[in-house]
Every structure is written in C-alpha cells, then in structure tokens.
C-alpha cells in the first residue's frame, strides 16, 4: 500500500486508478499516516523557506484575534473573499500552510508522547554531578545547533540519549 501511495504522489499512478487508495486511507490508519508523512518529507525537501521563524506563533495569534462570526451570510462573503485572495497568493503558500498544519500536529504529537518520560526525569537529574547541573546541556546543544563543529553533525553531545530502537 505504501508503495502505491508513494507512486501516486510521484505522479506515477493516475488519479483515476487511485480510487481504492483514497478509500483505504479513510479507513486504514497506517495508510493515512504514510500519506501525511510523505507529504511532510516532500515539503521539507522542497524547502519551507517561505515560512518565517514566527510563522506558527503569528498564525495562532491571528486566529486568536479573528472575531467569531455568527451570521452565515457574513461567512459566505468571507469565504469568497478568501478564495479571491487565495488565487492571488503564490503556489508556495498552500505548501507552507499544509507544512504549518503538519508541524502543529507533529508538535502536539510529540508533546503527548513525551509526557510519560517526565516520570523518570527527576531520577535522572538527581544522579547528575553538581557541575553538570549548573551547566545545562541546553547550552551545548544551542551552541552546536547555531555554530556546529564538523563532527557535531554526527557525534551527539554526551547528554543526548541515543536509544537503539
């Protein structure tokens, strides 16, 4: 199934022949997940440079500021206005938007998944030497992210846990 999804995305499979893929994606969780992930990978490879560093925050802020519109007529008018705007936007916008959406989902997924780890965190901290405690690994990680030495792309700092699976 994943090969077929991949083929569909690469235009190697005609949309007319792909009805069964769309159907199965609605019911089949792994297939839908593969579709989402391939798009995320594709978007990243094409470069999300159109996104500003504060894109997520700004987008969320703007959504906050949007008034809740109760009158359906007004919504209709707004939708057509948005459609007009959309046609004027560069094609990259839609990539950026889906990229942001996936990113938000990704971050949410990460937060949910990392929560159980917190139970173990206090134990780990208690075992660390006092010196290490005063110099959090975050500084080293921030240094390596912004000013990497040639080996830091491949050899992680000591604090980084690299589990086998």
């Amino acid at each position: 199934m994943t090969e077929q999804i991949s083929a569909l995305m690469d235009d190697e499979l005609a949309i007319e022949d792909a009805a069964h893929i769309f159907t199965s994606m609605q019911s089949n969780q792994p297939a839908a997940e593969a579709w989402r992930q391939y798009h995320l990978i594709g978007d990243v490879m094409r470069g999300g440079a159109t996104l500003s560093p504060h894109f997520k925050q700004n987008l969320m802020q703007k959504l906050e500021l949007e008034p809740t519109v109760l009158a359906p007529n007004a919504i209709q008018a707004k939708v057509s206005k948005i459609n007009q705007l959309k046609s004027k936007l560069p094609a990259t916008w839609s990539i950026a938007a889906s990229f942001a959406a996936v990113m938000v989902v990704g971050v949410m997924a990460m937060q949910v998944q990392t929560q159980p780890d917190n139970e173990f965190a206090p134990v780990a901290v208690a075992e660390i030497e006092p010196v290490e405690q005063s110099i959090p690994a975050e500084y080293l990680m921030a240094h390596q992210a912004s000013a990497p030495s040639a080996s830091s792309y491949y050899i992680q700092s000591a604090s980084y846990s690299e589990s086998a699976r």
């Binding site: 994943t2 792994p30 997940e33 593969a34 992930q37 391939y38 995320l40 990978i41 990243v44 490879m45 470069g47 999300g48 440079a49 560093p53 504060h54 997520k56 925050q57 996936v102 990113m103 990704g106 971050v107 997924a109 990460m110 998944q113 010196v131 005063s134 110099i135 959090p136 690994a137 975050e138 500084y139 080293l140 921030a142 240094h143 992210a145 912004s146 000013a147 990497p148 030495s149 040639a150 080996s151 792309y153 491949y154 050899i155 700092s157 000591a158 690299e162 589990s163 086998a164 699976r165």
Partner: protein, 332 residues
C-alpha cells in the same frame, strides 16, 4: 574537466573572489612557500563545494567514532549533499546550498530538524580565508597516502594560544580535503575526520537526494526554540575587548528549556573555530561562583557577574572562553 567545473562554480561567486582564485591558479606549483600552501588550502575550500563525489568518511572525537556515507553533487548552479550515518542510529543530513535538513531517529520517532548549514566535512574551510590568515600560520608538510590517494599534508598552527591547531590532507589530483585533524595545545587529537573511500561522480542525476523512509516510524518536526526579537530587550551590557582574531558572527535571543527569562546567544568566530556566549539574568539567591569545565570537545565557562549569568561554550582553549566571558561589561 576540473577547470571547467571550477569555472562554473565561480560563476556563482563574487567577482573579487574569482579574481583572487584565478590569480592563485596561475601560480606554478613549485617551491614549498607559504603562499603556495595557502593556495592549496584555498583550492581545497573550493573543491569541496564545486566537485561531485561520493565516499565514506570516519568521524572521530575523544569519545566516539562514526562512519558517514557522503554523496555530494554540484550541478553548475546548486550544491546537493546527502550524509548518512552508517554506525548506530541511521541519522541523515541532507543539504541543499546552505539549507540543511536532519532526519534524526529518536526512540519511536524520526525528528526532522532544519538548520542553516556550514562547515560540513569536507567543506570545513571557508572559501574566504582572510580571517584564517590573520590568526594562523600555514606550512606544507610531507606527501601521505589517505583513502588510497596521494595527498599533501598542510600544517595550520595558531599564532597564539587562543585556538587549536589543525592538520589537513589535500588530494594532490582533485584538490579535495581528504582528512582533517584538530589538536589541542598538548598535541592531543580533539577531532579527526578522514575519508577511507572516495570517488568522483560523473552523473548529475538527483535520484539519490532523498532520505530513506522508515514506514514504522512517525516523522515529526522538531520543537522549535522560541526566538524573541532582540529589539525589545533592554541591553545593559557591552562587549569590550574580544580575544585577538575573534569576531561577532550572529546574535539571537531565545528561550532555553527550564529558564524563566530569555537568553541572549552571541556567536563569535575566528574563521575556523566558533564560540557561543549566553547572557541571562542570574537566578535569585545564587552567590558569585565561577565554573570552568569541558563537555566533550567543548570548553565551558560560567560566572555570575552583576546579577547576570554569563556562560561561554566553544571548541577552543579555556583561555579563549574566559577572555570572551570577561569581555562582557555590565553598565550597572
């Protein structure tokens, strides 16, 4: 062939640099002069970016060793590279020009990290070597064999005790950097990266330029560090006397995990080595203390100065990071 590729690479660079390099090329390979050594180094800086090649290199620090498979392509306009870790978890680094995407397996997930790329082996040398020339001396060494190829050894030594020394092995035919070793002041190896297999690529196909996808894992974007616009933060400090040769490269204000206040992060470089300086309000109740330690290859120094915590991290001698910490002068 080689000349043609280089010429195309230069078309994408500034005219001044091109002139500079062409004048380098016109020198004859002759006596072992300093100028000649710098020309070989200059050529290596360009060759790493302008040639297309594939190989395996081994990256080694005090603690760990990793093998990396590299495929690098320059198509006349853009640079593409895919680096795959062959040992341990299958981390991949894909770069296009200066944009870098890291696929980093962490437990059941693959975290996608985006970075601005620089100094990725073998492109560890800057194309503009002026800053390096200011702080280091270069001389030619012997000829040695690396990865089955003949190479010229270059010895780069600091003019003072504020940086480490390096040794480079440059392919005598391709001009490519085959091996790079960094030594501390006691001549101990801090970092070593060397090809053990290398071949030039003839094709401009890009079918290899994609990560290997693991269907069983979730792909997620990394949690971005919250970056704060610097203009709003009141600055009550200045940076006075920096150690010789170090210049400010960048400054960002960010939130760091577990810290209540934003941290100002400033990056300095002497052309090869980089140092990070972090300034933030000191936690209440902390008495003045000074800390000097090492974490892997990096020297780390922290002190509390007039209500601020100043932390300096870098792959440089301790004297350098202490000097950078002391260069911060608080106005209060």
């Amino acid at each position: 062939m080689m000349r043609l590729v280089l010429a195309r690479f230069f078309a994408s660079l500034s005219p001044a640099l091109v002139l500079g390099f062409i004048s380098c090329l016109s020198f004859n390979v002759q006596a072992a002069t300093d100028e000649n050594a710098w020309n070989v180094l200059q050529k290596a800086a360009v060759a790493a970016r302008a040639l297309s090649y594939q190989g395996v290199f081994v990256c080694q620090t005090e603690r760990k060793t990793k093998s990396v498979q590299i495929t690098h392509l320059f198509d006349g306009k853009n640079e593409f590279a895919r680096n795959v870790l062959l040992d341990g978890s299958p981390r991949e680094v894909l770069s296009q020009g200066g944009d870098l995407v890291i696929y980093n397996p962490k437990n059941e997930k693959i975290v996608i990290e985006k970075r601005r790329g620089q100094n990725m082996f073998p492109a560890v040398l800057p194309v503009n070597l002026e800053a390096v020339k200011e702080s280091y001396l270069l001389r030619l060494g012997v000829l040695e064999r690396v990865a089955g190829r003949e190479s010229q050894v270059l010895i780069l030594e600091p003019k003072d005790g504020l940086r480490y020394s390096y040794r480079f092995w440059i392919d005598t035919e391709y001009g490519l950097l085959l091996k790079s070793v960094m030594f501390n002041s006691r001549d101990e190896i801090m970092e070593s990266i060397a090809f053990n297999q290398l071949a030039l690529l003839n094709s401009v196909e890009l079918d290899w330029f994609k990560p290997k996808i693991d269907h069983n894992k979730n792909y997620v974007m990394e949690d971005e560090p919250v970056v704060i616009a610097s203009n709003g933060t009141p600055v009550d400090w200045v940076i006075k006397d920096l150690p010789a040769g170090y210049r400010k490269i960048d400054q960002i204000t960010r939130m760091v995990n577990g810290k209540l206040h934003p941290v100002t992060h400033i990056i300095f470089s002497d052309g090869l080595a980089s140092v990070s300086l972090f300034i933030e309000p000191a936690p209440k109740g902390n008495k003045a203390k000074v800390l000097l330690t090492t974490m892997g290859n990096a020297s780390v120094y922290a002190n509390i100065n007039k209500g601020h915590l100043v932390t300096v991290v870098g792959e440089v001698p301790e004297a350098t990071i202490v000097q950078i910490a002391n260069a911060v002068v608080f106005k209060k």
